[in-house]
């Protein structure tokens, strides 16, 4: 187990390194590059630009700049935002909670609904419900998240007036119920795709478990049906889902990005789009790294989760 986790940690570090290289290369080789924001300022001469480039260390070879950046990053210095000179890590930290709140709520919804639909579909295979769930999942995967958000806002905010059209709280209110009411629409919109994915995998996993000999043993013991389903089918079928949850993290983060844009949610996705608009490279790079690290941590937690849930892995 310890060896496995060490191995996984190393793998994660290699992954983060590759991601950082790809990101760094893209940002620095792009036409314009980090200097483009100054180039647009009127009255800047080429000399001024060169001076700024030198000050920022941008005239050195890219690998040197990368190593420099890497050393700083590891020591906790992720650079300063071009926009307001505050440290990138602080900026990320400030916006992280909103995103985690949205992602957490939405994932909880997706897991609960997806599991329910997947298990019911498997238990009643080829029924009308199962067919509808299958087709429904395919359609859900085809709806652009942002458009679903727009349609939801149109109906529930503009037409019906039930829910706020955006933001995380009402200025001056900020009570728990105020947060909750703002959270409903974005988290459901973000959950849609994941409900679809989760229910498909859960269905397959459940069907797999239902054919296992130990389920027949459980039936032979004369257990009531709910007990067979909960303790012997769903319990076992959920194990591969933990791994899936880890692997789905990038999709959820990506979905959060557009969801936050539509619902003006003050999280990392909004921060990313804003930073793109300002050519704020340190923040963009920081967010790329942050999402990669989050994914690696997610997969690591998923590995531990699987080990906790499955004695074969824990003890093997």
């Amino acid at each position: 187990m310890i060896r496995f986790l060490t191995h996984r940690t190393l793998q994660g570090i290699v992954l983060i390194l590759i991601v950082s290289m790809i990101g760094f290369t893209v940002i620095n080789l792009a036409p314009g590059g980090p200097l483009s924001q100054y180039a647009m300022t009127p009255g800047m001469s080429q000399q001024d630009l060169d001076r700024i480039a030198h000050q920022m260390g941008l005239d050195r070879p890219i690998p040197v700049q990368y190593l420099d950046w890497l050393v700083n990053m590891v020591s906790g210095d992720w650079g300063k935002s071009y926009r307001d000179q505050s440290p990138v890590l602080d900026v990320v930290w400030r916006h992280m909670w909103a995103t985690l709140l949205l992602m957490g709520t939405s994932t909880a919804i997706a897991v609960a609904l997806g599991t329910l639909i997947g298990v019911l579909g498997a238990l009643k295979r080829y029924s009308v419900f199962d067919y509808m769930a299958t087709v429904g999942a395919m359609i859900a995967l085809s709806i652009p998240t942002f458009w679903f958000g727009l349609v939801a806002i149109f109906f529930f905010s503009l037409e019906l007036g039930w829910l706020p059209a955006g933001n995380m709280y009402t200025v001056g209110d900020q009570s728990f119920s105020d947060y909750a009411i703002h959270l409903i629409m974005p988290s459901i919109v973000l959950a849609l795709v994941n409900v679809a994915i989760w229910s498909r995998y859960m269905r397959a996993s459940t069907l797999d478990v239902m054919d296992q000999d130990y389920v027949r043993t459980a039936r032979a013991k004369g257990l009531p049906r709910w007990r067979i389903v909960s303790a012997h089918i769903v319990r076992n079928a959920l194990i591969p889902m933990i791994t899936l949850a880890g692997l789905q993290l990038p999709t959820i983060i990506g979905g959060a990005l557009v969801t936050e844009t539509v619902f003006t949610w003050p999280g990392l996705g909004r921060l990313f789009i804003d930073s793109l608009g300002y050519n704020d490279y340190p923040v963009i790079m920081g967010l790329l790294m942050f999402s990669a690290i989050l994914t690696v941590i997610g997969n690591f937690l998923a590995d531990i989760g699987v080990a906790l849930a499955d004695p074969r892995i824990r003890l093997g």
């Binding site: 000999d213 130990y214 027949r216 013991k221 004369g222 009531p224 007990r227």
Partner: protein, 339 residues
């Protein structure tokens, strides 16, 4: 004679997959009495497991599988019970030991909990009483240090130990009938002997009836009072241990017996390697007449490939044989032509 614990009449089982229907069991009848062991033998694929699952209604649900006939226990046809009522039969009335000791236990639950679960849903007992009973059962099936081993996961136990856990689970409620589907085939010989001995002891103590499935006549001779031979979904010979083992009338039974080394000395004719030539026919492509005739050294055109022979009494006792030629006087002595 006492009433049978279980009586099966005209049991027929069909599977449906991809729009095609295949009948794998074609009208099986038998009774089992308390304290008695009935052995069910036959080659792989003859329908033994499917028959036994049908008794406990463990086969897939209606469209995928149809069970017809009757399985009566205490005057009730189990095939007509609701799933909820059937759940009350499984465990206290009929319990089962499965063919696959390695996969029959749920890998994510502790073995003690899996046994406790078998008790918990049928008896109102305190946690402590259940725990004591689990330890008692584990001791009974010969698992050393049961108070500790009950906390183990199946993955931490050997195949023999796991099979003992499954047996403990089956015996937990002292069932009226125990179905043992090749409980020892996957295990090595010493473990096999211990488990047989264990089952016999328990049976003596509780007057439990037992349906013992195997394809090993050595095991049959050790444990059974009566024997039933199955081929391609039909009973082809049935009778007391002495009838079937010492005076087999169906060439298929003889073939099976001949393939057991210890019965070769008994003067029975064996094939070249002591096995039956050919293969069990596929259930959706059974030959006309006697299902066994294409492989039978005694088959006669016009007799064996015409009508399906009845399962008829041979001699005075309860010895039943399904063979068109079993009553021919010379049949028993006639040497089989080696093909």
């Amino acid at each position: 004679m006492t009433d049978p614990v279980l009586s099966v009449r005209d049991l027929r089982i069909r599977f449906r997959s991809g729009g095609r229907e295949t009948q794998v069991v074609h009208g099986v009848d038998f009774d089992i009495r308390g304290g008695e062991t009935l052995a069910l033998v036959g080659e792989s694929g003859s329908g033994k497991s499917v028959t036994s699952f049908a008794l406990m209604r463990l086969l897939p649900e209606a469209p995928r599988c149809t069970i017809e006939g009757s399985v009566s226990m205490g005057g009730v046809n189990l095939l007509e019970l609701s799933e909820r009522r059937m759940a009350q039969v499984r465990g206290p009335r009929i319990a089962m030991i499965f063919q696959e000791p390695l996969t029959s236990l749920n890998p994510v639950h502790r073995v003690g909990d899996q046994i406790a679960e078998a008790i918990r849903f049928h008896r109102k007992m305190s946690k402590a009483d259940i725990r004591a009973r689990v330890i008692e059962l584990l001791t009974l099936v010969g698992i050393p240090d049961p108070a500790r081993r009950m906390h183990a996961y199946p993955g931490e136990m050997s195949g023999g130990m796991r099979q003992r856990v499954v047996i403990a689970m089956a015996l937990a409620l002292e069932p009226d009938l125990l179905i043992a589907d090749e409980p020892t085939t996957a295990l090595d010989v010493t473990v096999q002997a211990q488990i047989l001995e264990l089952l016999r002891q328990i049976q003596r103590a509780t007057n439990m009836a037992m349906l013992f499935i195997t394809h090993d006549f050595g095991v049959v001779a050790e444990i059974a009072e009566r024997v039933m031979v199955m081929y391609a979904g039909r009973i082809v010979e049935q009778g007391s241990l002495a009838d079937v083992l010492s005076n087999p009338r169906m060439p298929y039974t003889r073939g099976l017996l001949a393939s057991v080394p210890r019965f070769e000395d008994a003067g029975l004719k064996t094939g070249p390697l002591g096995t039956i030539e050919g293969f069990v026919p596929s259930p959706d492509n059974l030959p006309a007449g006697c299902s066994f005739h294409p492989r039978c050294p005694h088959a006669r055109p016009g007799i064996c490939d015409g009508a399906l022979p009845e399962l008829a009494a041979h001699g005075a006792g309860a010895h039943l044989v399904r063979c068109a030629r079993s009553d021919e006087p010379a049949f028993g002595a006639e040497p089989a032509e080696v093909s």
